[in-house]
Symmetry: C2
Subunit: 356 residues, 2 copies
């Protein structure tokens, strides 16, 4: 089989622990399915600030660029929170998205059976919830001009939100395509009653819609969407939206499933290139103790296999193995009802590897 290059970024906090388990999964799928992976580790985030004085070292970017996909653990932590902007992990995150052209962030929000009681929503409301937020990731107010200036009423700050037709088209097309392979419902979220960028967004959605006649399109205002996610989460299939709205709504959507600690995400660039990472953060409070749950990172590998390499067999095998281990009752402490029976990060990883 062709050699696939994977850049591996362990990152901060529990990142190294969960990534180590994901690498075991990479290895066992090589053995079983005959795929060949070449992994290269790279420094990124807080640890890169500490060791290199920048959250996104040049060679990290090169390793990522020369790879076919990137696997990321998690970055950040209180240690770097009060640093100046250039020395903060999130600056690296924004930088890597832009530099690698990762314009589309896919965040599936599904309810894991074993966790359905973990949600704060009533089970009957949650029933059947399985949605995907497609968030634009390299435009909007995140990347527009920012400045400080003196105004008539004291100092003022400015952020600029910009979108062009090309940027909106590529993400909206991707969302239509994803919806076409799912339940064929697309909710496009904007604030077209206030924002010019939202009106452009809506125009593009309406222009492209006839090319996807089998997908039903709904325009929904962002404030209303924040409500409807609570009221009727299971009615959503694919939600597409701009960068800032997507940041807020994808977190709300993930949280309402109660399964946030188990969710994988993909940030896709042109073609099949992508960066895959768990939705959860670096959890510095439990780092280094073998308490972290590696499942979201392992499922990120499955997502990578499916989306970047087209290795559907291996992706399905990983997902089935995770389900099997959970069905057998094994839990890390974050998802264990009886914490005294919780297993460790490596035990969970080993069980999944064995099940594959």
């Amino acid at each position: 089989s062709e050699v696939k290059k994977i850049a591996v970024i362990a990152g901060d906090g529990i990142g190294p622990e969960v990534v180590a388990e994901a690498e075991k999964v990479l290895k066992v799928t090589e053995e079983i399915f005959g795929y060949v992976f070449e992994t290269e580790h790279a420094l990124f985030g807080g640890i890169a600030i500490d060791e290199r004085g920048t959250p996104l070292p040049k060679d990290t970017l090169e390793i990522c660029r020369s790879a076919d996909a990137v696997l990321l653990g998690a970055v950040g932590g209180p240690k770097w929170d009060n640093n100046p902007k250039e020395l903060r992990p999130e600056t690296g995150l924004l930088g890597i998205r832009k530099a690698l052209g990762l314009f589309s962030n896919l965040r599936p929000a599904v309810v894991f059976d074993c966790l359905k009681d973990a949600s704060t929503l009533k089970p009957e409301v949650l029933e059947g919830t399985d949605l995907m937020v497609v968030r634009e990731l390299t435009g909007g107010i995140y990347f527009g001009e920012k400045l400080r200036r003196q105004g008539e009423f004291g100092e003022e700050a400015v952020d600029t939100c910009v979108y062009n037709v090309m940027e909106v088209e590529r993400i909206v097309r991707q969302a239509f395509e994803i919806a076409g392979k799912r339940r064929k419902k697309l909710a496009s979220v904007d604030k077209a009653n206030v924002l010019e960028t939202s009106r452009l967004w809506r125009e593009v959605v309406n222009k492209l819609a006839p090319e996807y006649p089998d997908v039903e399109v709904e325009h929904i205002l962002v404030d209303n969407c924040a409500m409807q996610l609570l009221r009727r989460p299971s009615s959503f299939d694919v939600i597409v939206t701009e960068n800032m709205f997507g940041d807020i709504l994808s977190d709300e959507a993930a949280m309402l499933t109660g399964s946030i600690g188990m969710l994988a995400s993909a940030s896709m660039g042109e073609g099949s290139y992508g960066l895959f990472e768990p939705v959860h953060g670096s959890a510095p409070d439990i780092a280094g103790q073998g308490l972290a749950n590696p499942i979201a990172t392992i499922l990120s590998v499955a997502l990578m296999f499916r989306m970047t390499f087209g290795y559907e067999d291996a992706a399905a095998a990983i997902e089935a193995a995770v389900a099997e281990v959970l069905d057998a009752g094994h839990r890390t402490s974050d998802i264990a009802v009886d914490k005294s029976k919780a297993i460790s990060t490596t035990e969970m990883g080993d069980l999944i590897v064995a099940a594959i």
Copy 2:
């Protein structure tokens, strides 16, 4: 007693029906408490577009300006949704906020006992939820420069988000003061890891905090707040945030209480001047059928009494009357378990008037 002038805007959809009941309440409090109100009706929103060709006629603005407070029903409806911008109800809404200097939107989100099962959240999670969102209302991306232009990659749209120190200070001070009279917890929501306006916002909050030593301040990122509202709603007391984040979070917060149809809101300007309105919309689908629930509008009158006139006795009497009528089991159809026993808009208004 001094004559208080109230501008009354019935608006669209169910607006006229619910406002009529609120006016009955005004009248009965005059009789009982000896207060004197002078009401003047004004056209606004869709009906003003139809009758005057603009959502915010000049004389409406003058009536509002010469009043001590404004009572608003609801505006908008599908009829005007596809109009050009100048002929849309929400343009009137943004216009009236700016023209009257209503810089602060207060949206209390509480759980009504009789509605606690109406929420999609589990009752044990909701228990004790009583929060107030203080939303900045005349700045930010809502009112910054907007434009279209040709760029390198096709047409592009731009929105500008601007805040100056004065704008942030006045809303943050108000939030500190409100928190000081409540449970003394203030959550300031921003996206300081990305936005310059958010960094200015956070600086101002930190600068003012020492002046309010009894209020505990928490900075929370908007994406995290959207999650925490779901996870631990009852832990919030006052949430202060900028215009767009406030739009999204106040709707999310209202919806999670399950009581959205019963909530009142205030939009305050300098001093005690304010516009009071129910949180719910114009509900065109049930307009004119006597089905609307007037309670949120009646509670908006109570809020006006408390915040603009300092008529605490009358405010408390209205709130007690509403509680009494609900305790006695009376329900409009929106909140009735057994719809066949539901009472009409006017019946509900009359019962509350009688209870006062």
